[in-house]
Symmetry: C2
Subunit: 409 residues, 2 copies
Amino acid sequence: MAVVTKISPLAPKAFPDLPVIKGVRFATAAAGVRYQGRTDVMLAVADAGSSVAGVFTKSATRAAPVLDCQDKIGKSSDAGVAILVNSGNANAFTGKFGRASVEAITSAVANSKNMPVERVFTSSTGVIGEPLPHDRVIAVIDELNRNLSENALKDAARAIMTTDTYAKGASAVVETPAGPVNIAGIAKGSGMIAPDMATMLVYIFTDAKIEQSVLQHMISSITAQTFNCITVDSDTSTSDTLLAVATGASGIAIAEADKEFSDALNSVMLELAHLVVRDGEGASKFVEINVSGAANDADAKTHAMAIANSPLIKTAIAGEDPNWGRVVMAIGKSGAAADRDSLSILFGDILVAKEGWVADDYREEDGANYMKNDHIVLNVDVGIGDGESTVWTCDLTHGYIEINADYRS
Amino acid sequence: MAVVTKISPLAPKAFPDLPVIKGVRFATAAAGVRYQGRTDVMLAVADAGSSVAGVFTKSATRAAPVLDCQDKIGKSSDAGVAILVNSGNANAFTGKFGRASVEAITSAVANSKNMPVERVFTSSTGVIGEPLPHDRVIAVIDELNRNLSENALKDAARAIMTTDTYAKGASAVVETPAGPVNIAGIAKGSGMIAPDMATMLVYIFTDAKIEQSVLQHMISSITAQTFNCITVDSDTSTSDTLLAVATGASGIAIAEADKEFSDALNSVMLELAHLVVRDGEGASKFVEINVSGAANDADAKTHAMAIANSPLIKTAIAGEDPNWGRVVMAIGKSGAAADRDSLSILFGDILVAKEGWVADDYREEDGANYMKNDHIVLNVDVGIGDGESTVWTCDLTHGYIEINADYRS
């Protein structure tokens, strides 16, 4: 197996200080699922009365843990919530063994906490097509239960890493008239990409009191603007999972209409999504793509994703080449409405092309200088309507080829 | 500009001997549009009575020459046909100047041959966003007319090359009760990819006598099974053009129902399509993807293209890694119907996965050995219906990154 130890050049300087989320505790352990010498299992346990919501991959070949989570989400219960995640093995494409492993683990956790199995959720990330050695996971459950701590969310972020080059966390505090509520989340993934190890997993916790249906609605709509607006290489994992738990331990209730809380949750989810892109396999540049002036928002997103997923644009950015022609190409191929002679393209603030032609005062040196930045913004105005969309991606470099052409050998 | 001189390892040993197509003559010239020391313009002139049909890119940002060809195709005329193609400049995203260049060139050719301008077709391939120096092209028209020859189709294949590493030609002879008819074609392109220089251009000539509407129907339906079933990197050129000319000089009429001729035309178009894939930027392996057992043929093609365009599968093939898990991932994300536990995957004849699980007698060494071939066949049975599709692609290597991350600098 190729060992990639270099930390992404786009990584943040340090893991952030995350606030304690009252009502939920965490523990990690080294179960030896696949990796040696590191933690590879995390357990989160939230108090009775917590609500839990989830968003999952739409893949038609979803892994067993995802199917199990989907079955359980949305059922009302006053019991606590447990989430157990292992890295090293994705328990994906493992046939009937896959479901058996999920049942074995969730039952063991449920028994250990005297909790209904319907409140125990699992995720697995790592190699696929190999049976999950779930006995190794079950063997550490007692240890996990003994070590549960309010302060171990950072450790949890480390335990779920696979090809990630750094642990990912984000948080927000919302001041309400009744006092502060806290949100903290962790994620792993190097894109919405491999079924092997780059699966995106996200766990968000808040001490706000939120009804399940309200929490579900919030994370579903925010996911559409955050995690579903990032792409590394257009490939979608069979295991992508986001779970959100509201413990209510702050005693402060949040209603659907609470814009301040919703904005804070959005900021946490967006930051985690950006952290995933910044750890995109081989990434050397973080790229924001803003499309405006499309026929409608859906068309704008189609254009933006066509740009974000174009290998020719991603390689041009890697090569620091202000190749606006490839942007025209991507708009043209996307399938959404466009008019060549109405397009405007800006690299950052630099107007490159306008109305079907290179802009009058555009100088190639300006474009080339701009492309040396490690945060690139492409602004495209389609010029035919009011539709808007923003997506985020990274460039396509030799590093991506190295990581993925040599993964299992 | 990065100069890529290495010939693709998948190139055929030599350019084939192409038969003379009676009724059409060719010439090439060095106009210095952009390149020095090589030919960069080709002219084909077919006799009066020829029919001409075309298939074009569906890009919403098509280049001026494509729009002009589309305007002219299908109009009935007894006049001859001229096709002028330049390399070095694509005349794409050149605003109103683009159309002016097309008009200038087509008018000059029409005048020189005393031919209606509606019968003069042009294509341009090369850099985009720079005005085409059409005066340089017009300056060589007399020279081209003087040098027209039945034997210069191979020279034409060379004149239209851009990032191609070899010239591409294919032919077929159809024996009919009335005697033989000939088909010969040339192509350029390193994929359906860049708007810069990798545009796919295809020109096919036959001495059969075929009504325009019949010829159009034949090339449209065959394109769906050939050129529209190849992909290098999922990016679509703004200039892709296929023109077919039937001179009728053999005196032998071909009707729509002539399966033998249609099969021969199919073989020429398929061979040209494969030659384009074999010259895919950075390609080290030629990949055939057969999907069967899908809900319908359209779903089968959706699955096949999802596999063919997956960066993770293309890099796995480059790394000679029999990573069937990535095939499961691509089927899952394609959006077409699938059932994880009904999938079968074969690498060549090696059954790798069956019914949601690695096949009983699959040995990783067998898969790894198979992947060392430079012609890889992936067979996927979705297991839920009768839909079938075959597509062709190449792998994704460091060569692709080198060519495209450094193209204009």
